[in-house]
Symmetry: C2
Subunit: 309 residues, 2 copies
C-alpha cells in the first residue's frame, strides 16, 4: 500500500490529508462541516471529497491502506461515538458507516488522542512510543500514548487530562461541573482567570492593568519583565507541572509534548512547567523531557492517518 | 499448546504455577529465593524447578506456550531489569537468560502489573480489559491495564500508583523521598500513621488507645462502632477515593480492584473509598465499579502466566 488518508472532523471544518504510508504529506485540504439535521451529511461529504481526491490523483482504492478519522468525542474501541454535540451526532457507528460509504478500511479515534499520535509519528515526539500530549487551548485536552497506542479506556474517555483535579480547595466550577480541574488553571481561559484574580487582590502596577487580559497578554508581559505576570505564569506552571509529575508516575512517558494556542508563548512556557515538574517528580520519571508541539493544526490529520497504519 | 507457567519472584520465595492455557491452575508450588552472590542462583533454580515439574507431569516443552515471570522491579519492554534490590540483581536480562536456561519462550513483567493482569484474567476483573488494581500492603502498589495490557512506560515505571502526590501540604517524607504520596495515607503503614496522628491530637476515648495500632485494629474498631476509627478510615477513604477519581480520568477503567493485606477489612473498606470517589469523579467515569481482589497471593502466578498468552 502506498497511501492513507487522515481526516480530522471539527465543529467548523473537516481537515483532510493524503499521506504516503512513509509519513509524507502529499496533499491537504478542508471542507465545511455541515452540522444541520444531526450532522447527517458529514460522513457522506467526507467520503465524496476523498473519492474526488483519488480521481484527481489517479489513485485506486487498492493503493490505499485506509482512512483514519479523528472526532471531537469519546470513541469506543469499535469506532462508535455516543454523543458528539458540536457535530450534531447522537449515537453513531462512525467506522461502520464510513466503511460502507467508501469500501475502504476505517479507524476512528478521539481528536485529542489522535493529535497525540500525530506528534508521536511526525512531530515533537518522533522516535518515542510513550508520550503525553497536552493541548492548552480554550480548554485543556490531552492524549496519553502508551507503547504506541492512545489510552482509550472502557468508555472511550481515557486521557482526559484537563479534568484531573489539581486543587481540592477551589470554589469555582469547571465546565464539567467539578471544581479544581486542571483546565481551570492551565487553559487560555484558566490563565485569564488566574490573572484577573491576582490583579484584583494585588495593588502593584502591571502592564496587564492597561489591556484586555488573555493568555497571550500575560506571556507577553512576562517577557517584558512584568512582576505580576511572572507570578501568574508561576502559578500556571505550578498547577500544570505538578499535574504532569502525577501523570508521569502513571504513564511513565519519555516526552511530554505541549501544544495548543497557549503554547505559542514558546520555550519560556516550558521553563515554568518543567521547573515545577522537577520539584515533584518521582525519581523514576526524572528524565522525562518537555517539548513544544511542532505540527500545529496538522497534528489531527497526521495522527488520524497513523491510526490506520 | 496446552500449558504455560507463571512464576512470581519475591524477595523470600519464588511462587510457581502450572496452568492450562484455558486458565485452569493445574499445580502450584514454591522454592526459596537464594539472594546470595547477587541472586545468581535465582533463575537457574527456577529453570531447574520447572524442568522437574515437567518431568513429574510428563509434559514436553512443545506442549508449553512459555513461561511468564513477575519480578519486584521496573521491567523494560525487552525483559530487562536495571536494579532489583530485594533479589540482589543489578542489570539483568531476565528474558534472555531464562530463554537460554529453558529453551522456552519467556515474558517478564513488573510484579504489581502482573498481579493486575492476574485479577483481570482469573480474578475480580474477569471479563474486563480496562482496569486498575491497587495493592494496599506495607506500601501501595498498583497496575493499570489498558486494553488488556499493563502500562509499562518508557522506563518500565508505569502505574506507580503509590507515588501519586495527594497532599502538597505534607511535611513528612515518603520512602521515595517525596512528600504527600498516596502510600503515606493508604498503605498499612499509612493508616497506622493517620491513626497515631489523630489519637495524638484528639482527647476522645477510643478502643484504639488500649492496643497496638495497625490497619487491622483500625478497621476492627470501625466495625465495633468506634468514632475515632471511623474518622481515620474516612480520611484514608478520602485520599484513596480522590486519587482513584483522578486515575479514572486518565485510564477510564471499567473496574478498580483493591487488594493487598489492608483489603482484608472487606466490603466496608470499599464503601469508604467509593463514597469519596463518587464525590470527585468525572462524569464519564461515574460507572466505574470497585471490587475486592479475589486471587490473594495467587494473583502473581496467574498474571505471570497470562503474560505469555
Amino acid at each position: 500500500m502506498e497511501y492513507c488518508f487522515g481526516v480530522d472532523i471539527g465543529g467548523t471544518t473537516v481537515k483532510m490529508g493524503l499521506f504516503g504510508t512513509d509519513g509524507s504529506l502529499q496533499d491537504k485540504w478542508e471542507i465545511v462541516t455541515r452540522k444541520e439535521n444531526g450532522g447527517e451529511a458529514v460522513l457522506p461529504d467526507v467520503a465524496e471529497s476523498l473519492k474526488k481526491k483519488m480521481e484527481e490523483k489517479a489513485i485506486n482504492s487498492d493503493q490505499v491502506a485506509g482512512i483514519g478519522i479523528g472526532v471531537p468525542a469519546p470513541v469506543e474501541e469499535d469506532g462508535v461515538v455516543q454523543n458528539t454535540a458540536n457535530i450534531g451526532w447522537g449515537y453513531k457507528e462512525v467506522r461502520r458507516e464510513m466503511e460502507e460509504l467508501t469500501g475502504m478500511k476505517v479507524a476512528v479515534g478521539n481528536d485529542a488522542n489522535v493529535a497525540a499520535l500525530g506528534e508521536m509519528w511526525l512531530g515533537a515526539g518522533k522516535g518515542h512510543t510513550n508520550l503525553i500530549m497536552v493541548t492548552l487551548g480554550t480548554g485543556v485536552g490531552g492524549g496519553i500514548i502508551v507503547n504506541g497506542k492512545p489510552i482509550v479506556g472502557a468508555h472511550g474517555a481515557g486521557g482526559e487530562i484537563g479534568h484531573i483535579c489539581v486543587n481540592y480547595e477551589e470554589t469555582d466550577c469547571c465546565g464539567c461541573g467539578k471544581k479544581g480541574c486542571l483546565e481551570q488553571y492551565a487553559s487560555a481561559t484558566g490563565i485569564s482567570r488566574l490573572a484577573k484574580q491576582r490583579l484584583a487582590k494585588d495593588e502593584r502596577s502591571s502592564v496587564l492593568r492597561k489591556q484586555n487580559i488573555n493568555a497571550k497578554a500575560v506571556f507577553d508581559a512576562l517577557k517584558a519583565g512584568d512582576e505580576l505576570a511572572e507570578e501568574i505564569v508561576e502559578e500556571f506552571g505550578r498547577y500544570l507541572g505538578y499535574a504532569m509529575a502525577n501523570l508521569a508516575v502513571i504513564a511513565d512517558p519519555a516526552v511530554i509534548v505541549i501544544g495548543g494556542g497557549v503554547s505559542k508563548a514558546g520555550e519560556i512556557l516550558l521553563q515554568y512547567v518543567e521547573k515545577n515538574f522537577k520539584e515533584k517528580v518521582f525519581f523514576a520519571n526524572k528524565d522525562t523531557q518537555f517539548v513544544l508541539a511542532t505540527l500545529g493544526n496538522d497534528a489531527g490529520i497526521c495522527g488520524a492517518a497513523k491510526l490506520i497504519l
